[in-house]
C-alpha cells in the first residue's frame, strides 16, 4: 500500500482537528461567559457537585441574565490536584474564552490557579471554595478575588467558646496539610491568647484511616479534643474513639461537622450531639436571608434530585462567590471593557450582601466576613443540624494579630503547650 496514502490520512485528520479547534477569538457578543470549576472527581466529588449547585442557584436567582446579558456557565472538573485544576482553568480561559472564572474548590488548587491568574490579566478570577491562607496572603494576584473567608477565619470565636465551656486543655487531632494548619491557627490564636493550653498536637498523615495509635496517645488530663478531619476520617475517628472507650467531648473543625458528615448513613451520628464547632455559616441560623437561601436551595435542588437536605459548606461558598461575580456585573451594567478595570474596581469596593451578613474585601482582595460558632443539635425531624452559639462579625484574615507578626499556620506554629 502506498505509504504516503497512510500519511495523507494522518495529516488530513490532524489538520482537520487542528483547524476545527484552532478557532479564533469568540465574538464578544451579548452573553457573558463564566467558567465554573469544582472537584467532580475523587474524594471531594460530593462537595464539588454541591458547590456547582450553589453557584447555579446564584444564577437561577437572577433569572439567568444580568444587566441585560445572558449568563453562560461553562463547567470544568478537577480532582483536587493543582496541575489538573490549572489545566482545566487554562482550557476554560484560553480555549472557551470565558470572561470570568469562578473556582477552584480545594486549597492547593486555589494557590495554583492564583499563580496562573497572574499570567492572564484579561480575565477576572473569583474563588470558588478554596480556603488556603497563602492564596491571598503570600504574593496575591491583582485579578484574583476571594469573597469567602478562609480556613483560619472560620475558627475565630471557637477558642473563647471552648474556654466558656470549661475546656482549659485541648488536644488537637488534625490531618497533616495546609487547610488544617490554618484551622488550628484560627482556633489557637484566640484560645492561647485567652489562657488556654494545647499540650499535644497529633498530625495524622493524609489518607490514613487507622486512628488507634492517635487515640492511644490521648493524655488523661485534656478536657476536649479538637478534631479537624474531613468527612470520612472524622466519622471513622469517632467510631474508633468510642470503641476504644473514649468519652472526652469534641470540638469540630469547619469541615468536620459539615453536611457531609451529618448526612452520613450510619448510626454513629448520635454521639455528635453537643459538639462545638465554627464555620462561615450555621444550618439553623434564624436570619431571614439565610432562611430564604436555604428554602431556595431546597426548592431548586430537592433531595430526590440529588441535593442535600440543607446546603453544604461548598454550596454556600460557591454561592457567595458567584453572587459576587454577578452583583459586580450588575453594578457596572455588564461593562467588561478596558480589561475589566471598572468591573474589578466595583468588586474591590463592593459590600456584598450574603445570606449571613455583609462581606467586604481587604487590601489583598480577601473577604472580611462573619463566622458562626455552633453546637450540634437534633432537630424535630431527627436530622442532625447545628445551632448558633455566637456570631462574630468583621473577621479579618490576620485574625487580630498585627500583620507584621502574622505567620501562616504550620505544624508547629502557633504553639502554646
Amino acid at each position: 500500500m502506498n505509504v504516503s496514502k497512510r500519511l495523507w490520512i494522518r495529516t488530513a485528520l490532524g489538520a482537520a482537528a487542528a483547524a476545527a479547534l484552532a478557532g479564533g477569538a469568540w465574538a464578544q457578543g451579548q452573553p457573558v461567559k463564566i467558567g465554573l470549576l469544582a472537584t467532580l472527581e475523587g474524594p471531594f466529588a460530593a462537595g464539588g457537585a454541591d458547590g456547582m449547585r450553589g453557584a447555579e442557584l446564584a444564577v437561577i436567582q437572577r433569572g439567568g441574565t444580568v444587566a441585560g446579558r445572558k449568563i453562560e456557565i461553562i463547567k470544568a472538573s478537577s480532582d483536587a490536584k493543582p496541575d489538573v485544576a490549572v489545566n482545566a482553568t487554562r482550557k476554560l480561559v484560553e480555549q472557551d474564552k470565558v470572561d470570568i472564572m469562578v473556582g477552584p474548590l480545594s486549597g492547593g488548587e486555589g494557590i495554583a490557579v492564583k499563580d496562573y491568574s497572574k499570567t492572564q490579566p484579561q480575565v477576572t478570577f473569583i474563588n470558588g471554595g478554596s480556603g488556603a491562607q497563602a492564596t491571598t496572603l503570600v504574593n496575591p494576584s491583582p485579578n484574583f478575588f476571594r469573597f469567602n473567608t478562609e480556613g483560619g477565619q472560620w475558627m475565630v470565636g471557637l477558642g473563647k467558646a471552648a474556654l466558656d465551656k470549661g475546656y482549659k486543655r485541648v488536644m488537637i487531632i488534625a490531618e497533616d496539610y495546609a487547610f488544617p494548619y490554618s484551622q488550628v491557627q484560627g482556633f489557637m490564636a484566640e484560645y492561647c491568647r485567652l489562657g488556654g493550653k494545647v499540650p499535644e498536637k497529633a498530625w495524622v498523615p493524609l489518607g490514613g484511616k487507622d486512628y488507634s495509635s492517635v487515640i492511644a496517645k490521648i493524655p488523661k488530663d485534656v478536657d476536649a479534643l479538637l478534631v479537624v478531619l474531613g468527612g470520612a476520617d472524622a466519622v471513622n475517628f469517632l467510631t474508633q474513639y468510642e470503641n476504644a472507650g473514649g468519652d472526652k467531648p469534641m470540638l469540630g473543625g469547619s469541615i468536620t461537622v459539615s453536611q457531609d458528615v451529618l448526612n452520613y448513613k450510619g448510626k454513629r451520628r448520635d454521639s455528635l450531639v453537643g459538639t462545638l464547632s465554627a464555620g462561615p455559616y450555621a444550618d439553623s441560623f434564624d436570619g431571614a436571608e439565610w432562611k430564604a437561601f436555604v428554602a431556595d436551595y431546597q426548592k431548586n435542588f430537592p433531595v430526590s434530585k440529588g441535593g442535600f437536605p440543607s446546603p453544604s459548606l461548598f454550596a454556600y461558598v460557591y454561592y457567595v462567590n458567584m453572587k459576587a461575580a454577578l452583583d459586580g456585573l450588575a453594578a457596572v451594567n455588564g461593562d467588561l471593557s478596558g480589561n475589566q478595570a471598572k468591573y474589578r474596581e466595583a468588586l474591590s469596593k463592593m459590600v456584598l450582601k450574603t445570606p449571613n451578613g455583609d462581606v467586604r474585601l481587604d487590601a489583598n482582595r480577601q473577604a472580611i466576613g462573619t463566622t458562626f460558632v455552633t453546637e450540634v443539635v437534633k432537630d424535630s425531624k431527627g436530622d442532625l443540624t447545628t445551632k448558633v452559639v455566637r456570631k462574630v462579625d468583621n473577621v479579618e484574615q490576620t485574625l487580630g494579630i498585627p500583620p507584621a507578626q502574622f505567620k501562616i499556620g504550620s505544624r508547629d506554629e502557633p504553639s502554646c503547650p
Partner: protein, 381 residues
C-alpha cells in the same frame, strides 16, 4: 569493493533479473532491498542512510510538527501539543523498558518527579527557604543526574527477581516516594509542593511562552525518540531484547543479565528525567499529586494505548490521552472520565495488545492491498 558494490554484484545486474526468482513464501515476503542511487558517491555514510530511509511521509510529518504552532492557537500548542510531547517522552521511557526490555515499571513518573523536584529544590521556586537558586545550567543537569541515579537504584531493586515482580515493586516504590514528598516539609514542602517553576530566559527568549516551549519539548521529544531508535539497533539494544526474550540463554551466552536490565533502567531514567523537568516547567509547579498513583497509572495507560513495541506509540498514546482529557468534558460527563480511560485501556489490552499501532497494522493488513508487512517492522534489516 564497498559493501554496496558487492551487494549489487550479487543481486543486481541483467543476469540476476533473468534468473528465475523463487516463489515468495506466503507468510512474510520481504520487499526487495531498496535502490541505492547514491551508493557509489562519496557522501558520508550517515547521509546515505538518510537517503535510504527518508521518504515522503517522514518529510511530511516533520514539516507538520514544525509548522504546527504557527497555525494553531496558543492554547492548542501549549496545552495539547506541548503536553502531549512531554507526557509522550515520559511514556516513551516506559515503552522502551516494557517493549524492548520486557519490564513494566510504574516508577517512571516517580523518576520524572524526582527530576522535577530536583530543579525546584536546586533552582528557583516560590519557597525561598528551600530552593538553592543555582543557575539553570547547573540545576538542570544536576537534577537529571540525581534522577538517573535514582532510576538506577530503582532498577537494581526491581530486576533481581522475576519479571512480574517489577510492576509490584515499582508501584510500591512510587507510592513510597509520594508519601515522602507529601510528609516532608523541609525539602519538598509537603502538601503544597513547590511552585513558580519557570524555564530560564535564554538567548532573550522566554521559554515558557507557548511556541518556544513547544519547540523545546519537540526538540527533547525528538532527541529521545531518535535515541531510542538508535539504541535498539545498537549491540546493547539487541542484547536487551535478547534478555527480554530469554534471559537464561543470554546468561548462558555470557551476557550479564542484571547489568543489562539496570542499564536499561538508567537509560529510560534519563528520558523520564528530561520529561520530568519539562513537565515541571509546563505545570509551573511540583506537588505530591503530580507523582501519585493516578499519574503513575496514567503513564502506563498512555504507553500501552499507543503500543509499546515502537517508540512513536508513546507519543500517539499521549496525544489521544491529552485530547480525551481536555475535551472529554465537552462530549461526555467529565465525572466519568476515568471510566472512559479505563474502558479504552481495557479494550486495548484485550483486543489489541500492541496498542493503537497494532490496531492500525491489523486493519491495514486486513483491508489494505496484499501486503503483509506490519507497521511495526522496520523496512530494512
Amino acid at each position: 569493493m564497498s559493501a554496496a558494490q558487492w551487494r549489487r554484484a550479487m543481486n543486481g545486474g541483467l543476469a540476476a533479473a533473468q534468473r528465475p526468482r523463487p516463489a515468495a513464501p506466503r507468510a512474510v515476503p520481504m520487499p526487495a532491498p531498496a535502490e541505492e542511487p547514491y551508493a557509489d558517491s562519496d557522501a558520508p555514510r550517515w547521509l546515505k542512510y538518510l537517503w535510504r530511509t527518508l521518504s515522503a511521509r517522514h518529510v511530511f510529518v516533520m514539516a507538520f510538527v514544525l509548522v504546527f504552532p504557527l497555525v494553531a492557537t496558543p492554547f492548542f500548542t501549549f496545552q495539547v501539543a506541548a503536553q502531549s510531547l512531554v507526557l509522550g517522552l515520559i511514556a516513551l521511557s516506559l515503552a522502551f523498558l516494557a517493549g524492548y526490555g520486557g519490564m513494566v515499571s510504574l516508577a517512571q513518573m516517580t523518576v520524572a518527579g524526582i527530576a522535577g523536584y530536583g530543579i525546584a529544590v536546586l533552582g528557583f521556586s516560590s519557597s525561598p527557604e528551600i530552593s538553592l537558586r543555582w543557575p539553570w545550567w547547573v540545576a538542570v543537569p544536576a537534577a537529571i543526574a540525581v534522577a538517573v541515579l535514582c532510576a538506577t537504584l530503582i532498577g537494581w531493586l526491581s530486576v533481581r527477581t522475576e519479571g512480574i515482580y517489577t510492576i509490584m515493586i515499582t508501584l510500591a516504590i512510587g507510592v513510597a516516594f509520594y508519601y515522602l514528598v507529601l510528609q516532608n516539609y523541609s525539602v519538598f514542602n509537603g502538601f503544597q509542593g513547590l511552585r513558580e517553576l519557570k524555564p530560564p530566559t535564554v538567548f532573550g527568549i522566554d521559554w515558557r511562552a507557548p511556541v518556544p516551549f513547544y519547540y523545546l519539548s519537540l526538540a527533547c521529544a525528538m532527541a529521545g525518540y531518535f535515541l531510542v531508535r538508535y539504541i535498539v539497533r545498537a549491540p546493547f539494544g539487541i542484547a536487551l531484547q535478547g534478555v527480554r526474550d530469554n534471559p537464561r540463554r543470554m546468561e548462558a551466552l555470557g551476557f550479564h543479565v542484571v547489568a543489562h536490565r539496570v542499564a536499561a533502567y538508567a537509560l529510560s531514567g534519563l528520558l523520564a528525567a528530561v520529561g520530568g523537568v519539562l513537565l515541571a516547567w509546563y505545570n509551573a509547579l511540583m506537588t505530591p499529586g503530580s507523582v501519585g498513583t493516578g499519574w503513575m497509572i496514567n503513564i502506563l495507560v498512555i504507553a500501552v494505548l499507543g503500543g509499546v513495541k515502537h517508540p512513536i506509540g508513546a507519543f500517539l498514546g499521549a496525544i489521544v490521552f491529552v485530547l480525551l482529557q481536555t475535551f472529554a468534558i465537552d462530549v461526555i460527563d467529565r465525572e466519568r472520565f476515568n471510566l472512559v480511560i479505563g474502558l479504552v485501556f481495557l479494550a486495548i489490552v484485550l483486543f489489541s495488545p500492541d496498542g493503537l499501532l497494532g490496531l492500525w497494522a491489523k486493519l491495514r493488513s486486513r483491508f489494505g492491498p496484499n501486503q503483509v508487512l506490519t507497521s511495526t517492522q522496520r523496512r530494512h534489516p
